[in-house]
Amino acid sequence: MTLNLCVLTPNRIVWDSEVKEIILSTNSGQIRILPNHVPAAIAIDIGILRIRLNGQWLRMALMGGFARIGNNKIIILVNDAEKSSDIDPQEAQKMLELAEANVRKVEGKRQTIEANLALRQARTRIEASNAIS
């Protein structure tokens, strides 16, 4: 039994194939989805999506969104998604440093929220790119 996973972003379809199981990070913690899951609707936070495929775990950085689980069919709609293989570690590191510096110097409520968001995104990308080690 396999799950049919689709990861969609506004720009393109990031992933569309069969997988064995996935692990999502949501607001309320991490959830593991196995085949024959009950239909559910889940809000996803900025975090890592782990996909198990042929005994291998693949990681993807997701920037928040929504997941819907149907009859062994998972549709994940996110603002942005990047496969760990597509992330350049140095670039991700640089972005992380930029984001950290930004958070320290920014002011105003809205900017603070945005800066924090950017920081979390940068951290997630680093985490995803460090996965294969």
Binding site: P10, N11, V38, A43, R68, L77, D80
Partner: protein
């Protein structure tokens, strides 16, 4: 012999041959009576097909030559621009198409969840229908010019909408995207406008995010009660229409009323479109999205989190995707209009060049003829002695 300075006399026209013969006769007459002077003849509209500017005075071969050169180089530029636009319009169309699975799925899911949550008491800020006193208009224009009537038509539509709303006594706030729109609204201080500049050619989710956040905060803080998108919808390569699309609140048609209970929707407003037709470009539908094995009634969704939280997560996605789609369609229409405008410009340049060359040749020939006649006349005069 009376010298008649016939300014309007000899017309060096690009005209039927009969006329020309009479012209040469009169030229001969003139040149024998006084030293050859290239009286600049004024050209009236010769051929019915390509009317020449009547006031243009050709002052000599050199100017004509320079003019022909400049037209040639302009033509090269316009042709290059047309090719570039044609190449990019294809990419833009593809971008629109590839963004569709997301938008469609999102719309479906929202509908499903809405149905389910109707019974429950969930407060969704973005579906909050309030009496409308202020409207936010997002107007999408282009950054660069030379795109024909594109910016004009979108701004006209926006102005029309604003006057409509003003008649109903509703205050309008304009959020302008694109340099051309910004420049326009800057010149109109009576209109309150926020400016956004788009520097990129292809809109990505990040830019859409910025705009979506801004709009979201405006709506939620009740600074505006309704948000509408004014953008150009890409119908086909030769046609694009400016349309108005209500972004917020998310409701069905006719529900959004102003203080007096009148519906403030624009004619032809598109709500929550689930349609996916696109101009002439018909690509194969993405097969995955068409595998509808939900023949059975939808099972009840189990919400992992609070439904309100889930909807909270979906609203930004929805806003994002709508704005992104509007941006992409605008870009595609801008490119299509630029392509058409540059194509017309190239054709005009070719015509102009042809006309100018003809005129240049005639002048050149007239000059040569004049010189020959001069020489002959001089020789004749000498012979008499």
């Amino acid at each position: 012999m009376k010298r008649q300075r016939r300014r309007s006399g000899p017309m060096l026209t690009v005209a039927p041959a009969k006329e020309l013969r009479s012209n040469t006769a009169s030229i001969t007459y003139r040149f024998s009576s006084k030293p050859p002077l290239l009286i600049p003849p004024s050209f009236s509209s010769p051929s019915p097909r390509a009317p020449f500017p009547a006031s243009a005075i050709r002052c000599g071969l050199r100017d004509l030559r320079e003019r022909i050169e400049s037209v040639k180089s302009t033509q090269k530029i316009t042709e290059a621009m047309k090719l570039v636009a044609a190449a990019r319009v294809r990419r833009a169309q593809e971008a629109v198409i590839s963004g569709r699975p997301f938008a469609e799925t999102l719309a479906e899911v929202l509908c499903d969840i809405n149905d389910q949550l109707r019974s429950e008491d969930v407060d969704i800020p973005l579906m909050n229908v309030r009496p409308v006193k202020r409207v936010g208009l997002i107007v999408i224009t282009s950054d660069r010019g030379l795109c024909g009537g594109f910016n004009n038509s979108i701004i006209k539509k926006a102005e029309f909408r604003m006057s409509q709303l003003e008649k109903l006594g509703i205050y309008c706030k304009v959020i302008s995207i694109g340099k051309k729109g910004n420049a326009y609204f800057r010149r109109r201080p009576s209109v309150c406008a926020d400016m956004f500049m788009e520097g990129v050619s292809f809109p990505t989710a990040k830019e859409a995010q910025v705009i979506a956040d801004h709009v979201f905060s405006l709506f939620v803080t009740e600074e505006v009660d309704k948000v509408e998108l004014v953008y150009t919808k890409f119908v086909s390569l030769v046609r694009s229409d400016p349309v108005i699309h209500t972004l917020l609140p998310i409701s069905s048609k006719g529900e959004v009323l102003d203080a007096n209970g009148n519906s403030v929707d624009a004619d032809g407003d598109e709500f929550f479109r689930l349609t996916t037709k696109e101009g002439k470009l018909s690509l194969k539908r993405e097969k995955i999205m068409r595998k509808k094995d939900y023949g059975l009634p939808q099972p009840l969704w189990q919400f992992e989190q609070d439904p309100a939280q889930i909807l909270d997560a979906m609203m930004p996605l929805y806003l994002n995707s709508q704005i992104l789609r509007a941006l992409q369609e605008s870009v595609a229409s801008e490119l299509a209009s630029r392509m058409n405008a540059m194509s017309n410009a190239t054709d005009n340049a070719v015509d102009l060049q042809k006309n100018l060359s003809t005129v240049y040749n005639r002048e050149r020939q007239a000059k040569i003829t004049g010189e020959i006649l001069e020489i002959v006349a001089g020789a004749e005069a000498l012979m008499d002695f």
